[in-house]
Amino acid sequence: MRRVVPVFFFLLFIASPVFSQYEEKDFRLQPVLGLWFGPIAAVPGTELSTIFNTSLSAGFFARLNIPSDNFLMETGIFYSQLNSDLNAKLLTLPAYMAAVYKLPVDFALSFYFKGGAGMGFFQNQPENHGGFLPVFFGGFETSFPAGKFINIGVRFDYFMIYETWMNPPTNTSNVKMVNGHIFNVGIMANFNTNP
């Protein structure tokens, strides 16, 4: 019995990580830069959908991993010019930051769900007024690796342009303050900068 105890501790000692083939890497930043483009439209049934037609949008985003298995950070910006049949135009240039949740499934496709907020620059025609408005963002993305550096995927983004916090113009009646609800679908290419 007296011999067993040192042998037990010896076994415990050699089983420790110091002697194991420890494969796990340290946390390492793996930024992803992406480009996308695709159609954009106001959400059907909302106020803006009575004005604007579908048009094209294009955007850029950067995604960083954080010390977490399933969560990432994303920031992005996109540009679009919404046009109507008549005179109205809306230049949209929103920028956002979002938390990204990666669905923990072992599959060739990765699924990401995003939520965030930001500010957007908007300019309307024919009034030709411009300025920043807060935006809220929700999105979904699925992509697959096409080699070591490139991922290809599609994304679906929804933006709420928040305007009802403003007071309606004074000395005016019957002005209905509206928020903007727009969505876009894009095909995208992501570049893994540190694979």
Partner: protein
């Protein structure tokens, strides 16, 4: 230095939050586009019992050609494609319509004297758009045409630059207003020929249904050719337009009214088309300006005017008049801006009916922006077109005679200026 740049961006974000409700500005429309089918801008007369008869009808047989048509038997189906504004310089041939016009309506709209055909089929667009209600409004208080929410205050081109007006300077007002009729269908239309000596009703299509009548836009009748010479045929009067209006949209956020009056009510007349030995009677605007004598071409007789006012900043003029109302012909009170020439060959900026009051009449012209106005009485007691044997007592429905009542009557916002009875002496000749 780097810190300063970061701080600058944070402050830029906080302090450049938009002053304007950018989306709500696009969504809310300031313009209320009101279409009226009346000479009067308010308080129109009721419909005449019978429509007018062209002065040449009596020379044709059968005698049914010159019979009276009761207004209750008349149907109108009007399909308006859109209404547009422009600076009035004329569309250059090398530009697209979108580059020249500012379209102020979103969709076509129909006005129907009934939402069902004479055979009781429902007309879908009429029913969807409450065409019968629109028709009733069009000939009474005014039909509000759904207008676009994004009409530029000053004329802008498609790139957002200010347009150049007729005088070569940047334009600040719209001088041109165009109404694009898709159809202007009026009934009854009756064909008399050797096979049908008793007459057979003519039909046409409206809103994908068969209705009685003929469409004046495509029947070969150049009804809307606005040339003074009705024989200069092409094109059809499409659009109905005027380029001498001065429509200034008020700046700011207040709602404003764009009132467009197309004189149709109590101007309808029975005409005849002569084609060899067949005769087709139809209903159309009176040939008060360009005479119609059986030919397939007529025009220049449809007139309209348009004005803009801020409904929160208007006054009224009430006229009391010792002259008794002559019910044999129509007469109106009209107000035009002081000093502007008005001779009765066009329709005035504003007008009202005359209402019998005691031995004389009274009338109130409403929705006048503050300013000075000249008051006229307009009377339909001359037949402007060359007259043959008149079948309808020499009246054509258009009040060509303008008698000046007063000048420089001042209107202030929110008030009614009253012109006392006896202080004016404008009598229809």
């Amino acid at each position: 230095m780097k810190k300063n740049i970061g701080a600058f961006f944070i402050f830029a974000f906080l302090f450049t939050c938009s002053k304007y409700p950018l989306l709500s500005e696009l969504y809310n429309t300031r313009m209320q586009l009101v279409l009226k089918g009346t000479y009067e801008s308010n308080d129109p007369y009721n419909w005449n019992t019978n429509i007018y008869l062209d002065d040449n009808l009596g020379s044709y047989s059968p005698s049914a050609i010159s019979s009276l048509v009761a207004m209750s038997d008349v149907s109108l189906y009007i399909d308006i494609a859109d209404v547009r504004l422009a600076v009035g310089s004329g569309k250059p041939t090398n530009t697209t319509p979108a580059e020249y016009y500012t379209t102020i309506t979103k969709d076509r709209h129909v006005l129907c004297s009934s939402n069902t055909t004479p055979w009781k089929y429902s007309m879908l667009t009429c029913a969807d758009q409450n065409g019968d209600q629109g028709y009733a409004d069009f000939f009474s208080t005014g039909f509000t045409f759904p207008s676009a929410s994004d009409v530029p205050v000053i004329p802008l081109d498609s790139k957002g630059n200010q347009r150049i007006g007729l005088d070569g300077k940047p334009a600040t007002a719209y001088n041109e207003l165009d109404i694009f009729f898709r159809k202007l269908t009026m009934s009854p239309a009756i064909l008399y020929d050797t096979a049908n000596p008793g007459g057979v009703a003519q039909t046409t299509q409206f809103d994908n249904r068969v209705v009685n009548g003929i469409n004046l836009m495509d029947s070969g009748i150049v009804q809307f050719n606005q040339s003074d010479d009705p024989k200069t045929a092409t094109p059809l009067m499409f659009p109905l337009n005027r380029t001498d209006l001065s429509l200034k949209i008020p700046d700011g956020n207040d709602a404003y009214v764009l009132e467009v009056r197309i004189f149709l009510k109590n101007l309808l007349m029975k005409h005849v088309l002569v084609n060899g030995s067949s005769y087709t009677t139809f209903v159309g605007p009176s040939d008060w300006k360009a005479n119609h004598n059986g030919s397939s071409q007529m025009g220049g007789n449809l007139v309209f005017t348009a004005r803009i006012y801020d409904p929160a900043n208007v006054g009224s003029i009430t006229i009391n008049d010792a002259e008794a109302l002559n019910t044999a012909f129509k007469s109106y009170y009209a107000a035009v801006p002081a000093g502007s020439s008005f001779n009765g060959s066009d329709i005035p900026l504003t007008a009202s009916s005359r209402i019998v009051s005691g031995t004389g009449t009274t009338g109130t012209i409403k929705n006048l922006p503050p300013g000075d106005y000249d008051i006229y009485k307009t009377c339909d007691n001359t037949l402007l077109t060359p007259s043959g044997a008149s079948a309808a007592g020499n009246y054509d429905g258009f009040p060509e005679t303008a008698k000046s009542c007063t000048t420089k009557t001042t209107v202030t916002a929110g008030n009614t200026t009253t012109i006392a009875s006896g202080s004016i002496s404008c009598v229809c000749p």
